[in-house]
């Protein structure tokens, strides 16, 4: 539980503004795919969607929380937490050597789609 709480803090930069509808197919797919996968994610999004000052700053597509929710459904919570940290560090690496850049919602984002295999 503590690890998940810390995960929420680590993902704070990747809050999708749920007060607005997804505006691209990637967010649409992964936001609606696992909307209630994890209570922590639901609380995290609920708080964010009610904050007018918090906007989506996530540089990844799908966002870290969408990816976490999708992975949590596929692979379970513990694996998702470890890979969630890895995802946050991948976001820090932001470089075309590691991910494909894409212009989405008027800004540059890095595409990293969930893999069917849980080991990556």
């Amino acid at each position: 539980m503590l690890a998940r709480g810390l995960m929420v803090l680590a993902l704070a930069g990747c809050l999708p503004p749920l007060s607005t509808a997804p505006t691209n197919v990637i967010d649409l797919r992964y936001r609606s795919a696992a909307p209630t996968a994890d209570t922590t994610i639901r609380i995290y999004r609920w708080i964010g969607s009610r904050s007018s000052s918090v906007k989506s700053r996530c540089r990844m597509a799908p966002t870290d929380s969408e990816m976490f929710a999708t992975r949590a459904q596929q692979c379970g919570g513990v694996t998702s937490v470890f890979w969630g940290v890895s995802r946050v560090l991948l976001e820090e690496a932001r470089d075309p050597r590691f991910a494909v850049p894409l212009r989405l919602d008027g800004r540059l984002r890095w595409v990293d789609l969930p893999d069917r295999r849980c080991g990556r």
Binding site: L2, A3, L6, M7, V25, I26, V81, F82, W83, G84, V85, S86, V88, L89, L90, E92, A93, R94, D95, P96, R97, F98, A99, V100, L113, P114, D115, R116, R120
Partner: protein
């Protein structure tokens, strides 16, 4: 005076009778209906340029766009050989997007139609890449031997020995260029994910540095340093519960850092070797980039 009133009443009655009467039905003026002018934009179902456009999107790795376009065509157009070709392109795009269930089922259906050979090639490739050897073998048996060898070689690309053994069965005009492209592919994969992971386990952030990301290395090092330092400090102060909490967080970031180091190395390899892989796929299984033989 009275006759004025009578005249006014008559006038009023006359007006109301005119207003209340049904007007004579006047036939509408004849409207000239223009003869149908052929639209300058052909129907997408009959437009021969749609196929090449989809192929261009597929080659540009715009797989989601291919899928959305073909879904539109499937809604609009009646079944036809052209639509079957578009469906194969859609299935390739979905396989690239790791959306396999729909693609495999559609390819199974197409493998019984006019596009059977193309669908079988794509299906065999999909199974072989997914390491589903039994299913791949069953589909490869329906494909001519040189094509089957090409698919098997492509599936074994990451295993140098396996690729060489399958490449030996390729026709002469394919064998040499395929081997050259495979050599380029392996040369581009210079980072070892296992080495990156071990380095990050020894010194958090070292694996990220090895993979080529200074920023990720710095963040990993600082985060791990903070959490591990806090755990030690709290334990020395005999605040064991808080130390356990900090230690749990430290272990999450430590393991996450190791995974990330390996992941960055793998990603770097994949993106660096992508051009060689694309060229090899184009050479060995041209169907994957939209080059179909006529049905």
């Amino acid at each position: 005076m009275r006759w004025w009133i009578a005249l006014a009443l008559l006038a009023l009655l006359g007006q109301s009778s005119v207003a209340g009467a049904d007007p004579d039905p006047v036939p509408p003026a004849a409207v000239a209906i223009p003869s149908p002018v052929p639209s300058p934009i052909p129907s997408p179902c009959e437009d021969a340029a749609v196929g090449p456009r989809l192929v261009t999107l597929l080659r540009a790795h715009r797989f989601a766009d291919v899928h959305h376009a073909v879904v539109g065509l499937r809604v609009l157009c009646a079944p036809s050989p052209a639509l079957e070709a578009h469906r194969v392109l859609d299935d390739i795009a979905l396989l690239r997007l790791e959306d396999r269930a729909w693609a495999l089922s559609d390819l199974q259906e197409l493998s019984r139609g006019a596009r059977a050979e193309t669908a079988n090639v794509v299906l065999a490739w999909a199974y072989a890449m997914d390491r589903d050897t039994d299913a791949a073998r069953a589909v490869l048996a329906r494909i001519p031997a040189p094509r089957a060898a090409a698919i098997a070689a492509l599936a074994a690309l990451d295993d140098r020995g396996g690729f060489a053994s399958h490449a030996a069965k390729l026709p002469g005009e394919l064998g040499a260029p395929a081997s050259a492209l495979a050599a380029r592919y392996h040369a581009a994969r210079r980072k070892h994910p296992a080495v990156a992971g071990i380095l990050s386990a020894l010194i958090p952030g070292a694996g990220q540095l090895y993979a080529g990301s200074v920023q990720a290395a710095a963040v990993t090092f600082v985060l791990n340093g903070l959490f591990i330092g806090a755990t030690i400090e709290l334990a020395l102060d005999r605040r064991y519960v808080t130390a356990a909490a900090a230690g749990t967080a430290a272990s999450v970031f430590y393991v996450g850092g190791i995974l990330n180091a390996g992941d960055l190395a793998r990603r770097r390899n994949e993106l660096a070797s992508q051009p060689s892989r694309d060229a090899l796929e184009d050479l060995l299984v041209p169907e994957l980039t939209g080059s179909f033989p006529p049905p």
